[in-house]
């Protein structure tokens, strides 16, 4: 029974497709994290909470009769400013400190956001209905909710849009320059303060998009942010910073990995298997690193 997935071949197809669609969405969140981690050297523990907040924006639009899909436009705009405000209030004070301080600070923000959302929106689990229907494949034996396909599509659009923006626009170039060498960029006239604020804002905006998508594919709850933080952390660790194709690949890989873990080990080990993989990869990295060091000696 445990290995039903190998007895029913269509389940494998279902698992791979589900995993890929899910993974693309994870990759979008991870991309935001990689961006600000690379530029500002900050690991944002509140990443998942920004996602949930973005989801609530879409949910409230839905409540007021606006189709939640519009959330993918409205939510990032609002979240951009939320991001900039967080930067101005907290992050700019820890941006050039060591990593530990920034982890503590964003951990604090995470707790604050959870409680504030719980206070403002209540502890009920909510969701927005897109009414998008379902795509059936292979004589109905594989079903893909259109909302998931929509999510993956929008994620790809935003990711591509951002890559182009980073390459072509002035701010994008400034962000990349700051990521390479903040001091040199500053000397050459880049207003790094502004770049940092914009980077944090862009990250929050990406979270906003992802949140809106999650509200129409899954469920939203004030305390559900952490798994998204962990997943994006995991993806960035595997892919490395500043490696966008890597983020996309590792996102999709993680999605498929999770689905298979679910089928083979059981749903209860889904998040656990992500943690385990994270630990294994970190140990492996450490192992490789220590070898390198010896060699250098």
């Amino acid at each position: 029974m445990d290995f039903l997935i190998f007895q029913v071949p269509m389940l494998t197809v279902q698992a791979v497709l589900d995993g890929l669609l899910l993974g693309i969405l994870f990759a979008l969140i991870a991309y935001g994290m990689a961006l600000q981690w690379g530029v500002m050297n900050i690991i944002n523990i509140a990443q998942g909470d920004l996602v949930i907040l973005g989801g609530y924006i879409a949910y409230f639009m839905y409540l007021y009769g606006i189709h939640p899909a519009w959330g993918v436009i409205v939510s990032p705009i609002i979240m951009y400013f939320v991001g900039v405000i967080i930067y101005k209030l907290v992050i700019n004070k820890v941006v050039d400190r060591d990593l530990f301080i920034s982890i503590l600070a964003t951990f604090g923000i995470s707790i604050l956001f959870m409680q504030l959302m719980n206070f403002a929106f209540g502890a009920d689990v909510v969701l927005a209905n897109s009414g998008y229907g379902t795509t059936m494949l292979f004589d109905n034996s594989v079903t893909l909710p259109n909302s998931k396909i929509f999510s993956a599509f929008i994620s790809i659009v935003f990711a591509i849009g951002l890559v182009i923006y980073m390459k072509k626009s002035k701010l994008g170039r400034a962000i990349r320059a700051t990521a390479q060498n903040a001091r040199a960029a500053k000397i050459l006239g880049v207003d790094t303060e502004k770049v940092y604020a914009a980077t944090f804002g862009i990250n929050a905006a990406l979270c906003g998009v992802a949140g809106a998508l999650i509200s129409i594919t899954f469920t939203i709850h004030p305390y559900m942010g952490l798994p998204y933080t962990i997943r994006s952390f995991m993806i960035v660790i595997v892919a490395g910073l500043g490696n966008l194709p890597g983020v996309a690949m590792s996102g999709m890989g993680l999605g498929v990995f999770e689905e298979f873990a679910d089928y083979i080990l059981g749903t209860e080990f889904r998040i656990g298997s992500v943690f385990l993989l994270l630990v294994l990869i970190l140990v492996y990295r450490r192992f490789k690193l220590s070898k390198k060091r010896e060699y250098l000696k």
């Binding site: 039903l4 502890a123 009920d124 689990v125 379902t134 079903t143 469920t219 089928y263 749903t267 209860e268």
Partner: protein
């Protein structure tokens, strides 16, 4: 400068001392019976915590306005000291300690959820404080030999028992194939144990037995397995999150299953959030407004529903109804005990045998209510898409006939 500092320290020390000692009122002051309750007003249980508090308050107001509690020829009014336990078991236990040893409370009302009740019960037990609780259904609460714990609700293992038995009955008495997915918390696992028992007794087979993680928001894998194995019954219990996720993904993945039974549909406002997609889902409930139980205070379920809606602006979920019932039990026990002696009140509680609008109440040795069966309602929608919960089992209270098997998605 130094002297000023010393004076400030001294004054604030006195202030702190004073502020903590001044709250030590007590249990029965003048004509007031003061009950204590730690309730989740913030944190993840806050919405159900508020339902619980509203239920308590509604009953306090009603009992007080209808003449209060008569003990030893004197009339007393109920009053409750609330603290916010932040949905945190440790905090709940601390607050229980504080209510009893600092505030001098001698009688307690329960918090929301099995987990928090479990945290408080050892404290009330230690001090011999009778506690009537209305929101902790976990079976493990009733197997520890607690003497001062009384629960007005049916234990968790009975939640979906009736669904399995109904399915077997409809299958001509033959065992059915069951797929189940349960969250890994005390409550849901108890519901699971109940299903295992029922399956064993009826000769049914469990073909999928998934455990859902706490941070669940995707059941696609479980449902794909259900699609592939075609069970007769699908049982899901994972609080509101589980109910909402299940309905969303069952509809999206067009999973056809003859019977779908779950918990927490009431709290999830299933039909409100999912409309016609939630149709035909069977939900276990402690209470439903159409049940015909009666009492002198709230008359019956329908009246309670109307009064509660008028007062709080929303229809009462069963969490509120059972909380109100807890106060009725206390009043009845105080009057029968004729005293505020904790031992006597405890014995009176143990001998409770009454009917309330919420159901019959009679406690077993372990403190659980054995006189009130669970009800199952089915979400039924009309052509206009307006959905309603109708009681379908047990037959005695059924207001509609069970629709079985659930029509296939392709026919809807």
């Amino acid at each position: 400068m130094k002297i000023k500092k010393i004076i400030i320290t001294f004054v604030s020390a006195i202030a702190i001392l004073f502020s903590t000692s001044v709250v030590s009122l007590a249990k029965v002051v003048g004509d007031k019976i003061i009950l204590g309750a730690a309730i989740s007003l913030t944190g993840k249980y806050s919405s159900n915590g508020v339902h619980t508090q509203n239920g308590y308050n509604m009953a306090v107001d009603r009992i007080n306005s209808m003449g209060g509690v008569k003990v030893g020829g004197k009339t007393y009014m109920f009053d409750i000291i609330y603290y916010d336990d932040e949905s945190n078991p440790k905090r709940a236990a601390q607050l229980a300690e504080r209510l009893i040893s600092q505030d001098g409370v001698e009688f307690m009302l329960g918090p929301y959820s099995s987990g928090l009740t479990k945290a408080i019960a050892p404290v009330t037990e230690k001090y011999g404080v009778p506690m009537v609780e209305a929101n902790g259904a976990s079976r493990s609460l009733f197997t520890k030999g607690y003497k001062y714990l009384f629960a007005v609700l049916a234990p968790a293992n009975l939640y979906l028992d009736v669904a399995i038995r109904t399915a077997v009955e409809l299958n001509g008495g033959k065992g059915v194939r069951i797929a189940q997915a349960f969250e890994q918390d005390a409550f849901s696992q108890d519901v699971r144990l109940g299903i295992l028992d029922a399956a064993k007794e009826t000769g049914s087979k469990i073909i999928i037995d998934d455990k859902l993680p706490k941070e669940l928001n995707d059941m696609a894998a479980t449902l794909a397995k259900v699609k592939a194995t075609k069970p007769d019954v699908l049982v899901v219990s994972g609080h509101t999150k589980g109910a909402l996720t299940a309905i969303r993904q069952i509809a999206e993945m067009k999973v056809d299953v003859p019977m779908l039974a779950m918990t927490h549909c009431d709290a999830a406002k299933l039909s409100k959030q999912h409309g016609a997609n939630s149709q035909y889902a069977l939900c276990a409930s402690q209470w439903h407004k159409t049940l015909t139980y009666k009492d002198d205070f709230f008359t019956d379920g329908m009246t309670y529903d109307a009064d509660f809606t008028k007062e709080f602006g929303y229809a009462p979920p069963y969490q509120a109804a059972e909380s109100s019932a807890a106060l009725l039990v206390f009043k009845d026990a105080f009057e029968r005990a004729g005293s505020f002696d904790q031992k006597k009140v405890r014995d009176a509680l143990a001998a409770t045998n009454m009917q309330t609008f919420y159901g019959n109440i009679k406690f077993a040795e372990g403190g659980q209510n054995v006189d009130k069966p669970m009800v199952l309602f089915q979400v039924m929608c009309d052509d206009a898409g307006k959905c309603e919960n109708k009681v379908v089992a047990p037959l005695k209270w059924a207001s509609a006939e069970l629709i079985h098997p659930i029509p296939k998605w392709s026919d809807r």
